[in-house]
């Protein structure tokens, strides 16, 4: 079928099942915007800055399980997208980002709004393309979607020179496009799974350590994992990215592990004898000091990306494959072998875990004069408990960690946070993306007052599309996470971590056409949360929380899991010089 490049772009998006594009126009993409104008099937969400478009697409993708789609112009449009692309790469989020480019004959001439987009985005995408022939365009579009969602998902950039958008060429549908070579392995090696099952059967102190890869593998994989964990009776801890991969309320769940994870999860990790890592990547926030990481364990690692195996931690049994397929095979073999785990040892293990749980590591000192951030989130959890249509996004900092600790996720795809890159400003646009995917859901961005200012302009987007997102700002007036590190590691010298001249968030909300609320007294918390949830439109709640509160538990950088600080009474003396240099 003959059509222009711009028409092909729209057609390819529709053929790929895309219903929503997040974008921002400019000279180099005007033909595509023109083609967009002439149709109704594809919705375009006009963000207020291209960075917001990518985060919105990330939120949309993480919540819906589909590929998120972005359309931006050349030069500054493309460079503004770079942070979001890097974020998506780190967190394995499937994104296709279309960027305009100067016409092919001007490439390399420092033309107006020219940037070497494929050069700039090469290290922050899974793959990228520059289309120089209109007859390649349809194929490249379909390949881009295939690459973004296959294997370990990630962002793909398609750079589209303006002349190509005008030219006419032959369109081919996705059914005619097969990537020449890219075929990531999804089926696990059954013999390796058998070895894993054998290790698990003999385990005395086993632990599942599950991550975002299980969520990438889809809801069916999550269901299968839940079944497997219950069948074995083993404890299961989740990473920040893996929250929702196993029901938080299940007694087998130890909650999140890592730097700000649960005491019981970290101690269990430290003491386990068989670790079953599934779709988790041994990030430094999780492992702490590497030579003290689960030192006496046999490690099984299931991951779809061979480069995740043995990257930070040498494992005993690496299994390449899709988490869902691997877990399915594991369950099948476990059942077929009629395996009974070592019940006596497991009982002893669980009673050990019970003693760690009894420390109640999330305990905090309540106050009746000032709102403790933990309390505010506890009450938020109470308000949303039992609802299946609640989606939480976060910004980055202490509030993010408290949200991870105090909000409970029973199902996957309900929790969107910037884990790998830790991008302040992620939460609001991500919430917008989630709300586009689920217009009737309750979408809440748990924010910090510093982070929210990084993409505050997106309030205008929410207003334009009448998206009833809620922003719940844990306003401690400080870059709390930075302040906490300065207190613990830099002698309380608080260099530039206080934000003077914060805006009046209520007035700001109103200026954008949102409802704004201020929450100051612990006694008002429940009422204001209920009011926020009940309001039909977007709401920003400015919660004045204790400015000095620190986030515990905490494993200081470079320390071992068993050196956790449980509260302000524990001092960070364990921080070594080696630890100081770590991020």
């Amino acid at each position: 079928m003959r059509m222009t490049g711009a028409e092909m772009v729209i057609r390819a998006l529709l053929d790929q099942g895309v219903d929503t594009v997040f974008g921002y126009p400019g000279g180099a993409v005007l033909p595509i915007y023109d083609a967009l104008f002439k149709q109704n099937a594809l919705r375009h969400v006009l963000v207020r800055q291209e960075g917001g478009a990518v985060h919105a697409a990330e939120g949309y993708a993480r919540a819906s399980g589909k590929v998120g789609t972005v359309l931006v112009t050349s030069g500054p449009g493309a460079t503004n997208a770079v942070t979001g692309l890097t974020d998506a790469l780190m967190d394995s989020i499937p994104i296709v980002c279309l960027t305009g480019q100067v016409p092919t004959h001007l490439i390399g001439n420092d033309a107006f709004q020219e940037a070497d987009t494929t050069g700039i985005t090469r290290p922050c995408t899974k793959h990228n393309y520059l289309v120089k022939d209109v007859n390649d365009l349809a194929r490249v579009m379909h390949e881009a979607f295939y690459v973004a969602r296959s294997g370990r998902p990630g962002p793909v950039v398609v750079d589209l020179p303006k002349d190509i958008q005008f030219q006419e060429g032959e369109y081919v549908g996705p059914e005619h496009v097969l990537h020449k070579t890219y075929r990531p392995q999804t089926q696990p090696d059954k013999a390796l799974v058998a070895k894993a099952v054998e290790l698990m059967a003999g385990a005395k102190r086993p632990l599942f350590y599950v991550g975002g890869g299980v969520i990438n593998a889809g809801p069916k994989a999550v269901a299968q994992l839940t079944k497997l964990v219950r069948m074995t009776g083993f404890p299961c801890t989740q990473t920040l990215m893996g929250l929702g991969a196993f029901p938080a309320s299940d007694p087998l769940s130890l909650g999140m592990l890592g730097m700000h994870g649960m005491y019981e999860a970290n101690l269990a990790m430290n003491q386990c004898d068989v670790m079953i890592a599934i779709g988790s990547r041994f990030d430094d926030r999780v492992t702490g000091r590497l030579d003290a990481f689960a030192p006496n364990s046999k490690k099984i690692h299931i991951d779809i990306d061979p480069s995740s195996l043995n990257k930070n931690v040498a494992v005993d049994l690496g299994i390449i494959g899709d988490a869902g397929l691997a877990v399915e095979e594991m369950s099948r073999q476990w059942r077929a072998g009629k395996i009974a785990p070592n019940a006596r040892a497991l009982k002893a293990w669980w009673s050990q875990i019970a003693t760690w749980r009894a420390r109640q590591c999330l305990r905090y000192r309540q106050s009746d004069t000032v709102i403790k951030p933990q309390f505010a989130l506890e009450r938020l959890q109470a308000a949303i408990k039992g609802r299946d249509d609640v989606y939480i996004t976060t910004e980055v900092g202490q509030h993010q960690m408290w949200a991870a600790q105090f909000l409970k996720f029973e199902r996957p795809n309900r929790w969107m946070t910037s884990g790998g890159l830790g991008t302040m400003g992620y939460g609001l646009p991500a919430a917008i993306g989630v709300q586009m995917a689920f217009p009737d859901a309750l979408v809440i961005d748990v924010a910090g007052e510093a982070s929210i200012l990084m993409n505050i302009q997106e309030m205008s987007t929410a207003a334009q599309y009448r998206l009833p997102v809620k922003v719940f700002i844990m306003n401690n007036q400080w870059m709390g996470m930075v302040r906490q590190w300065q207190e613990l590691l830099h002698g309380g010298r608080y260099a530039e971590s206080y934000t003077a001249a914060l805006p009046d968030f209520v007035a700001l909300a109103e200026a954008f056409g949102w409802k704004g609320m201020r929450l100051e007294a612990p006694g008002d918390v429940d009422r204001v949360i209920a009011e926020m949830i009940d309001h039909k439109g977007p709401v920003m709640v400015d919660v004045a929380v204790d400015p000095k509160e620190n986030c515990f538990p905490m494993i200081p950088s470079g320390a071992a899991h068993c050196d956790m600080l449980l509260g302000p009474e524990d001092k960070a003396e364990v921080v070594s010089e080696d630890g100081m240099v770590l991020v």
């Binding site: 090469r122 290290p123 990228n128 520059l130 370990r152 990537h179 070579t181 061979p306 043995n310 040498a314």
Partner: protein, 169 residues
């Protein structure tokens, strides 16, 4: 974890010959802090448009594993083969070596070139250009010997390598 003995590995990478592929491979090495001792690239199958990149790198066993895994996951990479691990293989490099000098030194350079089976591919009254193929070690030995004899310029291709026996990688 990243400790252990450091070893030199020769890795062959079969890639789709598309724009940016070399930048992708080189960027991976620099971005992740891996070493490149030498790198060669040329198309080896013009119908399928496949290029072969040969990289000589050094690292511990765990780093070499990472390098291979990271290379394998680049979308246009078809195959990664660690020739050093996979059994006996041949490695060759080509060098052009310019030596300028007169009299005894000139004669001596020619004599050594003969022993090393280097060919004279250019000659003037005061200079020779030798062409030489061989292992990296052999080339280096020859170049070292040329130093006192008037070595002025060297161009080398970097290693290419292939496994011994009937099988392709």
């Amino acid at each position: 974890m990243k400790s252990g003995a450091v070893k030199r590995h020769t890795i062959a990478i079969m890639v789709d010959n598309e724009p940016g592929i070399l930048a992708r491979v080189v960027g991976l090495f620099s971005g992740r802090g891996y070493n490149i001792e030498s790198l060669t690239v040329a198309e080896v199958d013009s119908r399928e448009r496949v290029s072969r990149i040969t990289v000589v790198t050094v690292g511990t066993a765990m780093i070499i594993e990472q390098i291979k895994a990271q290379l394998s996951r680049l979308v246009p990479v078809r195959r990664v083969s660690d020739l050093t691990e996979e059994g006996p293989h041949l490695e060759r490099e080509l060098a052009l070596i310019k030596v300028a000098g007169k009299g005894e030194k000139r004669v001596e350079s020619l004599r050594i070139a003969d022993i090393f089976r280097a060919r004279v591919v250019d000659s003037t009254i005061g200079s020779f250009v030798f062409e030489m193929t061989g292992s990296t070690e052999k080339l280096e030995a020859f170049i070292r010997l040329m130093e006192p004899l008037g070595l002025v310029d060297v161009a080398r291709t970097g290693a290419v390598a292939i496994s011994r026996g009937p099988k392709a990688i």
